[in-house]
Structures are given as structure tokens and as C-alpha cells.
């Protein structure tokens, strides 16, 4: 397992290093522009590095909690939704994770899921109630396996590191563009460097303008790659690529946009939350490959569930290779299993009720059965009244203590 992670990461580490170079270069360009001397370049580079370090430090200590809060995720206990917990546990076992991730729910009708956690020992997976409502056990297993693939491959740490670089580059270039517009030109005219200075200035300006664009291209390409790799992991862990394929199909067909469409959280989700999802072609500026293509690859695995099968389906659909030969040899010639017998056995209404009940329980709602009739009341934690009448039969409920 370690072997494979290391090899996948080597390529990604190169990409992140390239972004780091871009970050430092942007900082240097900005510093040089402001001070018009060598010390300015060095200082600018240092400031860019320090800005990145500070942001990274904050995310390292607080990132998971911030992301979960932004997405409105609540941790659910085993008793609130046993099936979801069981599926997460099953996939943790399949992935040989030392520690089962925490399980969270987001109350949103759009079917989606994401994972957070900088290291596999302290991670969380979150799914929306809309996802739980729509998917059967096989499909849910596919989605959870994809998220656990992200955790196992350490994508969260990778993508936050790269994401913060992107943020700092965008910030620096914004500052640079503003100072160019409002005064940078005056400075350059007073420059005593002559022709050489003018060339440097042109390079600096071009860099400041192009850096955020370039950083975005790198970041999105990295993000799309990690999505394919997580799909390959999901197929391997479940030995059932059809489950994830069906889940992605349902997500694609749902057409419900996610309420949380913040740009910060977009790359975390299994499918892009914005409406741009329906575009059929992979845009250079999308965090995710098109769902139709991911489905086509999963369905093209020809009865296999290993990396070899995913790789050849990927080649068929897109050309090029996704994984190195050593990674592929980690899991090859694995036959896919058959579907679970359960499919479709649970009525949709029951699944929907279980999903929303689990979210209410996770949000601290109390469950109070009426002693006189069959009504079951779910009372919010903010409720102040201690004496209540049952809304169905009108009888007073026993006092809550």
C-alpha cells in the first residue's frame, strides 16, 4: 500500500513543487516591482513563502473543522444511521485503514459526498441526506470507497497544500495588478537600470498577470487526476465498479444543485456542486472530470476490479496512462464481484426518513413518543417550552427533564 501511495505522490509532489516555484516567483516579481532592486526580489519571495506557511499552519490545525462547518456537516453516531456507519467501517477494512473515519451528514437534497482529514488516522467522511435517500447499499459503498480512497491516497493534505498556494498566488497577483495600475508605472520611469531593467519589468508584469491563471490550470489538473485515482481505488476496494458507476449516474441525473457552492469546498466533493457539472467535456478549469467520462471508464473495466483494468479502461476512454507500472502491479487481475442481493429491497420513503432522522439526531433533536397515540415528535434543542401537547391527539406530553 505504501509503495503505491509513494509512487502516486511522487508525480503529485512534482506538481505541487511547480506551484511552489510559481508562488515564490510571483512573490519575487511583486517585491522587485515594488522596490526596484535585488533585495526587493528576495524580500518578496520570502513574504510569499511566509504567507503560505501561515495559511498552511492554520489549515493544518483547524482545516478539518472549518471545512466541516462551512459545509454544515454534523457528526452522526452509529445508532443514528447504522447502515451508513457499517458501510464506512466495511470500506475502512477493505482499505486497511488503521482508524475508521468519523461519519458526518450534511442536510442537503443534492446527492454528494466529501472527505476531510490530513492524515488517515484522523479523517472524516461526509455525505448529504440527498445521497442517502437515493442510493442503495452497493452505490453507497462505491461513493464511500471513493472518499476512503481520497483519505488513503492522502489527497486532502495534497489538495489543501496546493489550494493554499493557489490562494496566495491569486492574492499576490491581485496586489501586483493594483499597484501596476496605480503607481507602478511611475516607479519604473524613475528606474535607472535602462534597457535591462525594462526587460525585467516586462517579465515581471507578464508573470504577475499569468501566474494565477497558470496556478489554476495546475491545480485543476491535479484535482482531476486525484479524482480518477480515487475512482480506481474505489473499484479496487469494493471489487464492484458498477456500484460507483450507478451512484455517479444517479448524481448526474438528480440535477439538484448543492446549497453550499462555495469555491473553497468545491474540489472536495465527489461530484462538482455547481451547475457546470452537466458540461460533457473536461474543461481546463474544472476541478472534476466529467461524470459521463468517469462512468464510461468504470463501465469499461470488463469484469475486472484491479488497477490494471482501470488503467486500460482509462486508456480506452482518454488515452495516456493514469498510474505507473509499479502502482498497477499492486492490484492486478482482480475479478469484480456480483451485485448485492439487497438492491432495491428498501423502500425509497423509508430510506429518506432514515436519512433525515439521522441528521435530526445528529443535530441534537430529541425523540419523544406521544404516550396517547402513535405520533413520534422530534424536538429541536432550541425548544424552550417544557410543557407540550401532542399535535396529533392534543394530549399533553410528559415533561422533559
Amino acid at each position: 500500500m505504501w509503495e503505491q501511495i509513494r509512487r502516486n505522490r511522487r508525480r503529485s509532489a512534482l506538481v505541487v513543487a511547480a506551484m511552489g516555484v510559481l508562488l515564490v516567483a510571483t512573490g519575487a516579481a511583486l517585491g522587485g516591482l515594488a522596490a526596484q532592486n535585488e533585495a526587493g526580489f528576495l524580500l518578496g519571495a520570502a513574504v510569499a513563502g511566509v504567507l503560505w506557511l501561515i495559511q498552511w499552519g492554520i489549515t493544518a490545525s483547524q482545516g478539518d473543522r472549518i471545512l466541516l462547518r462551512v459545509a454544515g456537516a454534523k457528526e452522526v453516531r452509529k445508532a443514528d444511521h447504522p447502515q451508513l456507519h457499517n458501510v464506512v467501517e466495511e470500506m475502512s477494512i477493505a482499505a486497511s485503514l488503521d482508524q475508521k473515519p468519523r461519519v458526518c451528514l450534511v442536510d442537503d437534497p443534492a446527492p454528494n459526498a466529501f472527505a476531510v482529514g490530513r492524515n488517515p488516522r484522523d479523517a472524516a467522511v461526509a455525505v448529504t441526506t440527498g445521497l442517502l435517500r437515493r442510493l442503495d447499499r452497493d452505490e453507497l459503498q462505491g461513493v464511500i470507497a471513493h472518499e476512503i480512497g481520497h483519505i488513503k491516497n492522502r489527497d486532502v493534505a495534497l489538495m489543501t497544500t496546493a489550494g493554499i498556494m493557489l490562494g496566495v498566488i491569486v492574492l499576490l497577483s491581485e496586489i501586483g495588478a493594483r499597484s501596476l495600475r496605480f503607481g507602478g508605472v511611475r516607479h519604473s520611469r524613475s528606474s535607472r537600470k535602462g534597457g535591462g531593467g525594462a526587460i525585467v519589468l516586462v517579465l515581471v508584469v507578464v508573470l504577475i498577470i499569468l501566474a494565477p491563471l497558470l496556478a489554476q490550470l495546475i491545480y485543476f489538473a491535479l484535482s482531476r487526476r486525484r479524482e480518477y485515482l480515487a475512482d480506481a481505488s474505489a473499484a479496487r476496494f469494493t471489487r464492484y465498479p458498477e456500484g460507483l458507476a450507478r451512484a455517479l449516474e444517479k448524481i448526474d441525473a438528480s440535477g439538484v444543485p448543492l446549497a453550499d457552492t462555495s469555491k473553497v469546498t468545491a474540489p472536495m466533493y465527489i461530484a462538482p456542486p455547481a451547475a457546470s457539472r452537466r458540461r460533457a467535456v473536461a474543461s481546463w478549469f474544472s476541478t472534476h472530470p466529467p461524470l459521463s467520462e468517469r462512468i464510461r471508464i468504470l463501465r469499461g473495466m470488463a469484469g475486472g476490479a484491479g488497477y490494471d483494468a482501470y488503467q486500460s479502461a482509462y486508456q480506452e476512454a482518454r488515452g495516456g496512462t493514469l498510474m505507473g507500472a509499479r502502482t498497477v502491479s499492486e492490484a492486478r487481475d482482480l475479478p469484480a464481484r456480483a451485485a448485492l442481493a439487497e438492491a432495491g429491497a428498501v423502500p425509497a420513503a423509508e430510506r429518506a426518513r432514515a436519512a433525515s432522522d439521522a441528521f435530526l439526531a445528529a443535530s441534537g433533536y430529541a425523540r419523544r413518543p406521544c404516550p396517547s397515540c402513535t405520533a413520534l415528535l422530534k424536538l429541536p434543542p432550541s425548544l424552550q417550552e417544557r410543557v407540550l401537547n401532542c399535535p396529533r391527539c392534543g394530549q399533553p406530553l410528559p415533561r422533559a427533564d
Binding site: M1, P82, N86, I93, S96, P335, R337, A338, L340
Partner: protein
């Protein structure tokens, strides 16, 4: 003098390489052992679940005393089995008996509507899946360890490392059956 230093440097590199190789083998073996321990955890979970299941259905299934006794016997045999081969056989038999038991349950709609029984059913379904996935993870790790152990240059030093046995259910056809879900 220079020749001596070069010889020393080569020796140091060789020792470092040996250490890396050896530790890699140890790590792979530990991964396989941990994965094996996970199977045991899940099998134990199933052994603990069967008595609860029997207790929950006893009242409903007066006429199925034979089936229940068979289930308890299979469970006890599995709990007492030792060693990969014997365990594999006994656990395979228990899986078979459980599948038959759950087929019988289909004839009892009252039981199927019972919330307590349904919760147990979900736990049983998940346990069957966990066993299947733990076995799969173990076999993956064992394959990785075996490959590593047999490939050059690690094979020069892997004399003390035993080949990992694969976990198979007695009946190969049964092993190919998807993890049960009810």
C-alpha cells in the same frame, strides 16, 4: 588512502541498502499480520452476533428448532477452530448455515417486521461484508508481501521470512459468492 575510503563508502551504502530492504520486508509482513488480525476481529464479531440472533428469533420460530440448533452448533465449531485451514473450513460452514437460516426467515413476515430483528439483520449483513472485505484486504497484503519476499534482491535475505498463506473458504465457489446482504 582513497581506495580505503571508497571501500568504506561502498560498505556503508550496502549496509544501508540491506537495512532498507529488511525493514521493508518487516513492514510488509506486519501489514499482512494486521490484516489477518482484522479477519479474526470480524469472525469473533460474527460469533458474538449469532447467540443474539437466536435469542431474538426463538419466540417466532418454534417449528425451526432444528435449524437453530444447527446454527448454534456451526457457530460453536467455528469459534473453536484453530489455524487458517481449520478456521476457513468451519467459517465457510457457518456462512452456509447462516444463509440457509436467513432463507427460512423469509417465511416469517412477523419476524421480518420486528425492529429488533431488523437491526440484528443489518449487523449480520455488515459482519458478512466485513469478513469478506477483511479477507480481501488480507489476501491483498499477503500477495504484496509474498511478491516482495520472492523478488530479487530481497529474496537473498528473505530466508527467515515465511510465505504468507492465503485465506480461502473451504468451497471455492462459496468464496466467489458476493458478501451476503439481507
Amino acid at each position: 588512502m582513497t581506495g580505503l575510503w571508497i571501500a568504506l563508502a561502498i560498505a556503508a551504502i550496502a549496509v544501508a541498502y540491506f537495512i532498507v530492504l529488511y525493514n521493508g520486508l518487516i513492514a510488509a509482513r506486519n501489514d499482512a499480520r494486521n490484516a489477518w488480525a482484522q479477519i479474526d476481529v470480524q469472525l469473533k464479531r460474527r460469533h458474538d452476533l449469532v447467540p443474539n440472533l437466536v435469542a431474538a428469533v426463538k419466540g417466532y420460530m418454534q417449528h425451526e428448532r432444528g435449524t437453530l440448533e444447527l446454527l448454534v452448533a456451526a457457530r460453536n465449531q467455528a469459534a473453536e477452530a484453530r489455524g487458517p485451514a481449520a478456521q476457513g473450513a468451519a467459517e465457510g460452514a457457518l456462512s452456509g448455515v447462516l444463509a440457509r437460516f436467513l432463507a427460512v426467515v423469509e417465511a416469517y413476515p412477523d419476524l421480518k417486521a420486528n425492529a429488533n430483528f431488523r437491526a440484528l439483520q443489518e449487523e449480520l449483513a455488515s459482519t458478512e461484508n466485513r469478513i469478506a472485505f477483511a479477507r480481501q484486504a488480507y489476501n491483498d497484503e499477503a500477495a504484496r508481501y509474498n511478491t516482495r519476499r520472492e523478488t530479487f534482491p530481497a529474496r537473498l535475505i528473505s530466508g527467515g521470512f515465511q510465505k504468507a498463506e492465503y485465506f480461502e473458504l473451504e468451497n471455492r465457489a462459496q468464496a466467489a459468492v458476493p458478501p451476503a446482504s439481507f
